[in-house]
Symmetry: C2
Subunit: 558 residues, 2 copies
């Protein structure tokens, strides 16, 4: 099939709900006649400006216009910004969810936590397989990334082939031997590709990103010299990183403990599916760490973005049930810094330093490598595919624009479209252009960080008036953490209710208890204290009044 | 004089009010008997968590105990985090303010803006000069940094010599030829130094920082290839960077325009004192830029941290009186990212990309070099000085801890003290130890960003109850920027006043006007819109009611 389709065939439209012009919550709709498919259903972590919110999802009301037409959801890989929204789009259509085995295995517990009956809708696919969805034939192509079992999509449409890269890098020496499918990309490129939608995350980085193996030397240095525990924080889906750490633990005769709920859950899945191999006897439980000499232990834990309730941040303020950080320990941050997390990570590092431990972060040693291709990799894909239309995806505007600037150099005949969420790209007569802009938005999700996922609420910002807003103001002695003035509760928009007044009279007391229940380390760290106040106040409003106001903590240091 | 002083001589105490355990607002007190001197008087930029605040200063009430004893203020260099608080400490003592010529020239306009009668209290000093202050003899030693005319201090006390590095790096090829005073540092080290207080900002960076000249190649590439305007943002005190840009502008036959109030003010001072040389006819006014072909212009402007009202951020949203960013232009970010500014800078970059211009930031080309020494430079200073007591300063806890870890390797006999703000280090009998911890805090300053510096207020957080808190909630259509619901004003703690009620009835109208007066680019960017609402609401409360509440904007995208 050539990219040039006959006139009269149905047009194909691409409509991004999220992930184009922002990082995260990737969700794209592809429509052809009476058939629509969703590509990925991701969430994003809230910016610091979105007080009191746990996750952000694209506003799904845009999909209403295609209700009944959506035949399938196709997942490229198992990162939260691609699958975190699956439980929320699940009720909007009846068809299958296609994804590789590992991707679907990560989706499954999310659906179960939402009490969803999965039935037979999760349909595993393998690289180089194809599925037919109405007039669309979707082919899955292997791409390396920082999580196993990732695929790009080649979607054969009546208008021509559309390639969607998902997230990728060109790891020449992937740990699992699953290399980038150069051959099929090249073959499609030779035959003619209508459009390429390609990952722009690292478009502003020059050169090649490098292989997951590139961090081995950096970690070997740490393992060779550490005299206490080695504590590494990374994403709980980074199985290549975790495998390398397992291998080094074996080589340097350390036991490995995996800390944090998602770390334990995801590694168990990876072990079951053969994406992570831990030799018998090497792994120990977190409660057993104290029984081993510090120099015999490696801890791999959650909290790389400074999330207050994750394993490392709790250890950092000496509030972990089983594990203490000691002065001979080394704490290594082996993960990307998600924009907006800089301050939270710095706070964790300062607390770790107060425990006396050494800190290794990128900059001092090479212990992290990105999962996204840099400029030369992006050019290589453009060269292989030579699309008629090129559309940068996955990135803020500046990354999209940077990616767009590469195309004329390596694929001079490609027509470049820099689009943003809501833009409708129509492919017709072998051409692609933006024909409309639909309203997009965000939906805020509240509740997951408290560990009460089943109790999660979708909070559309339009419903704020109903849910209400509570500003909790407390003045704290910056040195001792003591409360210095009677705290203030300011409430607006809480629905009228007989319990309303009583509840607001109680609320200052909840606030006092939230502060007094905090650790000394939390009470002298406004960022941590605010997080605790937020969680506690939300819990109390929910428990005592069935209300879910947006809680805005204001901590004044005195 | 040896570091070992006779017993019976008065003890010397070092008490940091700010800058140790945090970045910025460096201010240290050194006390010997009846004599106290302040070393630097800096401010810091507020964290995003400190809504509605412009600058942060250490709480000066700690100084009350030494009132009458403070004989002088000694300044190491002219950066805001070392001199920004001079107008605020000025009234607390009567003595001289010592600093180099350029440093004092930067202080002077600050004092004038505060309506302070300077009289003869600004006393210029040169490197290698000394001044006597009671029992203390203070010697000034040249150190290179990113701003001209910087000095370290060697303070000869009855207990021995105390070296305070100020900020420094070891630029081997400084543009002005003013190299690090290795010889005097070495001489003092040979004779014996009691204590070294040394800059820890870059303690977590390996290797050598490099020379200011290292950015020439990166900029040459930009000048060689740019076909439109070259627009560079950097700190307005970075005279070496600006001089390099002037030289390149001359070489590549471009006119140079200096944009932004502080850029124009500081370069004028630097030109007058010979720290910046611009050949006749090279400089043009911002209003003349449009009269030149784009490829003949270089703009150097403020806004490197994404400050909403600075030159580049205004240009980025197409709201600069004279200058538009076009698609052939190159915009280069040649400055450190102050932690906490990441999001604001990313916003500016996205807006620049929307104008179609190319963006160059560190990572793609080497166009910035830090002014602070990295690990090898810090070790070199430790080796030269070999102090009895070593105290890391200037940094968050993790940088101090990292710096502390270097000492045993290069100066094994040094006693290392990792301290934080408020710790009292007493030097006695040739030893130093922490003997007390005094309460420290912060004072918030409000008003400078609006350009109304003379109208600035010191806002101690304790006075919040008097000033009040206003939460301004507005729901905005995320796509069009239209107001979607009647805005809400929530006020607390505004002092009772006959005009109070009338004012609060008017306030929603102010809020509507603030939003409607914003540019389309601002209305669809919550970060920018919040900043505009904050400034406008504060202005209205001040103008209409003489109140200065803390304004907390909440922008809900609908």
């Amino acid at each position: 099939m050539t990219a040039q389709a006959a006139a009269g065939t149905p047009a194909v439209e691409f409509i991004p709900l999220g992930g184009i012009g922002e990082f995260g919550m990737n969700m794209h709709l592809l429509v052809c006649g009476e058939t629509a498919v969703l590509i990925d259903a991701g969430v994003m972590f809230p910016e610091p400006e979105l007080f009191g919110v746990d996750l952000v999802l694209p506003d799904l009301s845009l999909l209403e216009a295609w209700r009944g037409k959506i035949k399938a959801l196709i997942l490229t890989h198992g990162h939260e910004d691609h699958i975190g929204g699956v439980p929320h789009v699940w009720p909007l259509f009846d068809g299958p969810v296609y994804g590789t085995e590992f991707t679907l295995a990560l989706v499954k517990p999310k659906l179960e936590e939402h009490g969803i009956d999965i039935d037979d809708r999760l349909v595993p696919v393998k690289a180089r397989e194809t599925v037919q969805i109405g007039p669309l034939r979707v082919e899955f192509l292997r791409v390396p990334h920082s999580i196993p079992d990732c695929v790009a999509l080649a979607i054969h449409t009546p208008q021509g082939v559309i390639i969607h890269t998902g997230d990728f890098k060109i790891d020449q020496t992937p740990l699992d031997g699953e290399t980038f499918d150069y051959h099929r990309f090249a073959e499609l490129g030779s035959q003619g590709v209508l459009a390429l939608f390609s990952d722009s995350t690292n478009a502003d980085r020059p050169g090649f990103t490098g292989s997951e193996r590139d961090v081995i030397d950096g970690f070997e240095e740490i393992f060779s010299s550490a005299t206490g525990k080695i504590i590494v924080t990374t994403f709980s889906t980074s199985m290549y990183r975790i495998q390398l750490l397992v291998d080094l633990a074996e080589q340097f005769e350390r036991k490995i403990a995996l800390l944090g709920r998602s770390m334990q859950q995801n590694t168990a899945i990876a072990i079951e599916l053969g994406h992570l191999k831990i030799p018998a006897g090497l792994q120990i439980r977190d409660s057993d760490v104290r029984d081993y000499p510090a120099q015999d232990v490696l801890c791999v834990c959650t909290g790389s973005q400074g999330q207050p309730n994750a394993a490392l941040p709790r250890m950092a303020i000496d509030d972990h049930r089983h594990i203490k950080i000691g002065p001979d320990d080394v704490v290594a941050f082996s993960a990307r810094v998600i924009p907006g997390s800089e301050k939270a990570i710095a706070r964790v590092m300062n607390h770790v330093a107060r425990r006396g431990a050494a800190i290794v972060a990128d900059g001092s040693r090479h212990i992290h490598v990105s999962g996204h291709g840099s400029a030369e990799e992006l050019k290589l894909v453009l060269s292989l595919v030579r699309p008629k239309v090129f559309v940068p995806i996955h990135g803020e505007y500046r990354q999209l624009a940077r990616h767009a600037r590469m195309a004329p150099l390596v694929s001079p005949r490609s027509h470049v479209l820099v689009i943003e969420d809501g833009d409708v790209v129509r492919f017709e007569n072998g051409e692609g252009r933006v024909v409309d802009k639909l309203p997009t938005g965000r939906v805020l999700i509240d509740g997951t960080r408290t560990g009460e996922i089943a109790d999660e609420v979708l909070r559309d910002r339009r419903h704020l008036a109903g849910d209400g807003l509570v500003v909790a103001v407390v003045a704290i002695n910056g040195r001792t953490g003591a409360i210095e003035q009677p705290p203030e509760i300011i409430a607006r928009g809480l629905a009228v209710d007989p319990r309303h007044d009583a509840m607001l009279k109680e609320a200052p007391e909840w606030l006092i208890r939230a502060v007094e229940g905090a650790l000394p380390e939390e009470r002298t760290d406004p960022g941590l204290l605010k997080e605790r106040i937020r969680i506690e106040m939300q819990r109390m409003f929910r428990k005592r009044a069935g209300r879910r106001p947006l809680v805005l903590p204001v901590v004044l240091e005195v």
